[in-house]
Amino acid sequence: MKALFFAAFALYGAAVILEFSGTAFKKDKLLKSAWYVFLAAFAVHLAFIVTRGIAAKRLPLSNQFEFANAFAWGVALMLIVMRPRLKTDWLSVVAMPATVLVMTYAALQPMEIHDLMPALRSAWFGVHIGSAVISYASFVIAGCIALRYLLSVRKGNPDERALAQMDYISYRMVAFGFLFLTVVILSGAIWAEQAWSAFWTWDPKEVWALITWIIYAVYLHLRLRMKRKGTAMAWFLVIAVPVVFFTFAGVNTLMHGLHTYG
């Protein structure tokens, strides 16, 4: 089963190399190949998730490896959904490496399948963790688009229409991710009340999810009410991505709390 994971990892890596080469040498054939290889990687990755779920007899989302694996898959899924809608390929050059980055983190985690501990045997398990996957993946994609925006501006003579589209799409991704992060926090609160008897315990993971929520709430207020757009907001989204990674991986690695499962 691990072979499927590493096959997907290798294919994602190959897609990134082809994408970079295609962009550097302006070869459409290479870019097209990169996309097809990426789709193949995604399919293999999905097969891995399904087989692992069958083997574990549960949703494969219970520890750092499984969450990181699903997170990487979520980033890839977002890219696949977004690319045809955007009718452009400017997203791939940043979103593909983001997928590989998360896969690399997943590959460094212990991969053994463990029985689900009693605290995780709940109807909220899928909702809470599944929403976190969608939310974090959306924020990463928003950060990737913002990075692409900054690179386009830096290159000089950017296409204004493309910039406006990037700015808008990154905002939409944040809005989407923000809705799901809210679901994560609220479903987590209800679950916490059932499992630990309190809706909120100021556990480090809860607090960092709240900090992430506040950061993106500030972004949305600046964007929607103060009408801030452009380079400053793109920087905001790029800088926010490490906070998302810290909430996802840093808290579990560096801080001890009730969410220390995997």
């Binding site: 009693p118 808008y168 809705l179 008897s197 809706f199 900090i211 709430a217 207020h221 801080m255």
Partner: protein
């Protein structure tokens, strides 16, 4: 005064409060909370004075953190009230205002025709005002931010009530025994097991609650993630333990006493001879020469428990180990070591179901509010024979969408003009 009020309800102030709450929260996770004062002195020798003075050891209970939350509530209240007033005011006569908007994008006649069909396909309501046609939909969308802000306010208020009004006590109870609460409520633990029949961790007990007014629950199952509510009490599977079980038989009269041991204890009839119970180990390994290695940690039920005791006789202390089933006779007493007993730690919470229900309703309201805000945006498009203009509170999405969709009709017209 007016300026202060304006600042208190401003978004700038709201954002400042959010940033300060986030900053305090970061401090609250970087500095371990609610430890002994000596711990901070030991681990932060140069900074512990500042930590204690600024209450960074209890950030989330500090006066300044609570003040920030109160100010946020104030800001949200004022902002929500004023927002709804503005939303209602601007929504009145919006169609006629939209009809008067000048075209911002000029289209070819074919383009305007297609635009009308396109907007009808989007299920927009159509209203003709003179030469202009105004298309609109998702009017509810304008209330999204109001609903969201109100729900956040309610969440903070009901969250505080749900967190700080319940009384919580943790109690251990042996199977077959009861916990008696101050108001006369009795919680009887019928049984408990750490692992199920397949060896999987389970932590499940059966309980029965009798309220002070005499009402009695049926036998209810209690496990992790599955609390049991009865009356205003909610019971949670909180912790667990394994107790040593020793039966002492008086060999002269045949009388027996059963002891469940969770801590060190001395079992003796005369005070001079008996056994001193030290602890219970979950597992051990005995090598071929008979030496025993004790295993102190295990997950789940004790697979191979062993008692560590001291046999006290005539003032002499002799360390010994006893396995379940072993017996020891000492001056008229027989000590029988039984299979250890697993027992639950139950959290008993006296809750207000109303606050909990209102809090969960606020959660639902927040999700609905956010959905409406971001995915049910009001659409307001005015078209005429020359082109179109997009209005309403959130025109950006429609501007981009129509710009993409009808770009070729703009381009053609420019070409015709040149």
């Amino acid at each position: 005064m007016k300026n202060l009020f304006r600042y208190l309800r401003s978004m700038r102030f709201g954002i400042l409060l959010l940033i300060l709450i986030a900053a305090c929260s970061v401090a609250g996770t970087l500095i371990p909370q609610e430890r002994e004062i000596a711990w901070y002195a030991e681990n932060y020798p140069s900074a512990h004075g500042a930590i204690l003075m600024l209450r960074l050891n209890r950030v989330f209970e500090s006066w300044y953190f609570i003040a920030l939350l109160v100010l946020l509530c104030l800001n949200l209240s004022l902002c929500s009230l004023l927002r709804i007033r503005t939303v209602v005011r601007t929504s009145r006569g919006e169609t006629s205002r939209a009809a008067a908007m000048p075209d911002t994008v000029l289209l070819t006649p074919e383009g305007t025709k297609k635009l009308g069909a396109y907007l009808e396909d989007l299920h927009c309501r159509k209203e003709s005002l003179g030469e202009a046609i105004v298309y609109r939909k998702h009017d509810l969308g304008r209330y999204g931010t109001f609903i969201t802000h109100l729900s956040i306010l309610l969440t903070v208020v009901f969250g505080a009530l749900a967190l700080y009004t319940p009384t919580v006590t943790d109690q251990s109870c042996m199977p077959g025994e009861s916990i008696l609460l101050e108001d006369g409520t009795e919680i009887r633990v019928l049984d408990f097991h750490i692992t199920d029949e397949t060896g999987r961790l389970d932590y499940r007990s059966h309980v029965q609650v009798t309220l002070s007014d005499g009402r009695q629950s049926g036998t209810a199952e209690l496990s992790v993630n599955h609390p049991f509510s009865f009356g205003s009490y909610k019971l949670f599977q909180q912790s667990f333990g394994t107790a040593g079980s020793v039966t002492v038989t008086n060999l002269e009269n045949g009388g027996t006493d059963d002891f469940l041991l969770t801590e060190q204890a001395y079992l003796s009839a005369d005070g001079a001879t008996g056994i001193y119970y030290e602890t219970l180990y979950p597992d051990f390994i005995r090598d071929p020469s008979g030496n025993v290695t004790l295993i102190t940690v295990t997950e789940g039920s004790y697979p191979n428990p062993i008692y560590q005791i001291e046999v006290i006789s005539d003032g002499a202390f002799t360390p010994a180990l006893a396995e379940p089933g072993d017996e020891l006779e000492l001056t008229g007493l027989r000590f029988t070591f039984n299979k250890p007993v697993e027992y639950p730690g139950i959290r008993i919470k006296h809750v207000s179901t109303l606050f909990n229900a209102l809090l969960i309703a606020s959660f639902a309201m927040m999700i609905v509010g956010l959905f409406i805000t971001f995915f049910y945006e009001p659409v307001l498009v005015k078209t005429d024979s020359d082109g179109y203009a997009v209005g309403g509170p959130k025109p950006e999405r429609m501007r981009i969408e129509l710009g993409e969709e009808f770009r070729e009709y703009e381009r053609n017209m420019k070409e015709e003009a040149t």
